[in-house]
């Protein structure tokens, strides 16, 4: 399986780090790309990661870092070019420490997000980052891609939840910056540069993470709104009333529940037939009953015509049911089979216009649009599906033009063609085309400065050799 060069490299790696090149290392969740690999290494320590990186640098072999493998933009698989070494963080899963009195824990990069959340909970705290794939996604990958999710509205994306990192740079040196500090203005923000760089500037091996005390009063409601513009006005109203207490604010277009009714009919639907609805979660102080706070919001919003109907969860089970509806939409999407998925963000005041205009522009193409997502962040998952009775494959020729149309309309409104998933290999061309030229030039200069051999995740974010 290895090329001869890989055997020479293998001999220079720390003993015991090699793993079989199993298919699981070459896959990504949507099954669109199959990666290649000369070797798979799973180091146990930061020093071993550094040794692997140094060996690859000497051998001029590319490294593709891999956490849980749940990325959606092919950052973790390299289908083309010389076969790389896959550096899996799967054995670096230690909780290095927890300081609940500081609201901090330090996790190794291979810990799953769920394991980090569990460790926080065991310490009486909450690590608020929350994603559908959290049982598999590694915290290192969450940081490398600056993952977002449903609570970013209140707590920020992964970047906002990280106080410090330990990372191996492309020359094998180790940045030791696992500080547990809220404020530290001593030089350039190398931490935030590595966060979101998708493994192209170095490998995050551990992180110091910010925890919060769980809010004492949590409430959840599903509210039917007349349209997306009303949902945005409702959001502003809710944020004003709740003083930062809105934890999640998810827009759900009617197509999602319709797909659920079709392929997952066991999922309860509290507002059947709603064209647009919102799932809101609030986390409130001691002394303020969440039912009363949500009831006050509901009355206020109905008087203003922002809400048509609403259900406030009366139990933990009901709250879980509401969330279950939201969280099963991606699964329903998978079963229906999307033509194209778009992870976009827009300035909040552009959202209603985008939904209107994009819908109109796509109307003639015989697609169904499932539009849902993290409205509070301006982040929509705008996914296209075959018309009823037609198949994905019928749209193969049309797909690139449809995605381009969507992305073009987003960019024209000051939005982003990758809100929370990253660039990976999937969107390298879009970034090159639509990215600000001076910013791109700075990115390339930094890539050359930190990774002059171009070994770190070659071809991700920036085209190899750019």
């Amino acid at each position: 399986m290895h090329e001869p060069a890989d055997d020479a490299l293998a001999a220079r790696l720390p003993a015991g780090v090699l793993r079989e090149v199993a298919p699981a290392y070459l896959e990504e969740p949507r099954g669109r790309y199959l990666g290649r690999a000369g070797l798979v290494a799973a180091p146990r320590t930061t020093d071993e990661v550094a040794a692997v990186v140094r060996a690859c640098a000497e051998a001029r072999v590319g490294i593709v870092p891999r956490g849980g493998g749940t990325g959606l933009v092919s950052g973790q698989v390299m289908p083309d070019g010389p076969a790389p070494l896959i550096l899996s963080l799967e054995r670096m899963t230690a909780l290095r420490g927890a300081w609940p009195e500081e609201n901090v824990l330090v996790a190794e990069a291979g810990m799953t997000l769920q394991a980090v959340r569990d460790a926080a909970e065991a310490a009486g705290r909450l690590f608020p980052l929350s994603l559908a794939s959290q049982g598999t996604a590694a915290i290192g990958g969450c940081l490398a891609t600056n993952a977002g999710g449903v609570t970013a509205l209140r707590y920020g994306s992964a970047r906002a939840l990280c106080l410090g990192i330990e990372a191996v740079l492309p020359d094998g040196s180790v940045v030791h910056d696992l500080k547990r500090l809220r404020k530290d203005n001593t030089g350039y923000d190398i931490r935030d540069l590595l966060i979101g760089a998708e493994g192209t500037l170095g490998i995050i091996t551990a992180a110091s993470l910010k925890l919060v005390v769980p809010p004492p009063n949590v409430g959840v409601a599903m509210l039917q709104v007349p349209d997306p513009a009303a949902a945005l006005t409702l959001l502003a109203l809710a944020e004003g009333r709740m003083a930062g207490g809105v934890t999640a604010f998810e827009l759900i277009g009617g197509q999602g529940p319709a797909f659920l009714a079709e392929v997952l009919p066991e999922i309860r639907q509290p507002l059947p037939g709603a064209d647009w609805s919102v799932l809101i979660e609030v986390g409130l102080p001691e002394g303020l009953a969440p039912d009363a706070a949500l009831e006050g919001l509901l009355v206020d919003a109905m008087e203003r015509g922002l809400v048509l109907d609403g259900v406030i969860a009366q139990s933990g089970q009901q709250a879980a049911d509401f969330w279950s509806l939201r969280e099963h939409i991606p699964e329903a999407n998978r079963r229906i089979g999307a033509i194209a998925s778009h992870d976009i963000s827009l300035p909040l005041s552009e959202i209603a216009g985008f939904i209107r205009d994009a819908g109109a522009a796509l109307a003639g193409h015989g697609v169904r649009i499932n539009c849902f997502g993290h409205l509070g962040d301006g982040n929509l998952h705008y996914n296209l599906f075959p018309a009823a009775g037609r198949q994905r494959g019928d749209y193969d020729a049309l797909r690139p033009a449809l995605s381009r149309l969507v992305h073009r309309m987003v960019v024209d409104r000051g939005g982003s063609f990758s809100a929370e998933h990253g660039v990976g290999r999937l969107k390298v061309a879009e970034l090159a085309e639509w990215g600000d030229p001076a910013r791109l030039a700075a990115m390339r200069a930094i890539k050359r400065a930190l990774d002059p051999l171009g070994i770190m995740n070659p071809g991700a974010v920036l085209s190899a050799g750019a």
Copy 2:
């Protein structure tokens, strides 16, 4: 006044940008350093900033960017080396736009922080960054130094409040990244790299800033605590009860009020004689009276022995009085005359031990310690003053050793020798000595990559030529 080289440079600048080299451009607030300047340019537009930068690059003349000039680490004055061009942002003060429905405004870099706060208020919103110097400090300088202040506990430092920037890079190219997006994962975080780089990687000319809806219910209290450890336990209790509603949590050591009584006796003292007290501000949702919430906290905390005495503000005037006490401590310090000031941060669980051990280590040196600051961020201003009856000058020989002692104890406990003021020119040696070597090497590589001529704020953060 100009050197010959400056006349040649002056001729190449856009018409009308030059200003007289007035003393105000060469000063910093503590009066310790006097800067030098060959020319002062005050461009009116981003294009003019770019033209000035290109002309300086061609002439190999250093540029010292200047906002309000309130920095405390000499980043805005260059006392040594070839006389630079000072690039003042004083004429770039436009509010480019406000989108209250998005909680965003776009400000040019020369707007004062107060002007930004006023613009937000005029739009029915709050820009939460708040500093003693906000009437003079420019928002561009706040971003360049990642300024912190009293509300960072809840809303973060300047970096956390910035969605996008426009900036001129050292080659005169302009990064146009004034996006109004909460999520945008399209490549390296150039924004956060320029934020906190103190003008050494480029000049921020405008920024897209995050606003919030002001909390409907605000409450303020002063609480006397037995010691700093109790203050930290009180903070955790308050954060738990308030669900993120604690806006500020300021520790006040007894020396500050004692200085106030001496030099500013008109300032009201609600808890006279307290060795340690805390100023807490909360911003709470609709439906929760702040008095009741603070009363609940006070009772709970007194039962646990965390609070000895407390006063809850019963009016806006009383709340303003409490804040006035806190905000006049720096003024009292100036009148007393510090031997040395330290802007430090520590992991929260190290604070009590640091205060104890540093106090013991300094006990034999005949100094008075005024320890106060943003406890919620682990950020203390740990300032040393002459013993009663002695003068600053008596300590001239001792000063470096005292500061080193303090910084050494901070670093040994995993803290930072610059929490919120930055490195400037004052702490370049400390950063070189105590910074992580791999992180420093990455910083130097990035500096060389983006500013190969070394013209941007030479000698700040990293020593020139490093």
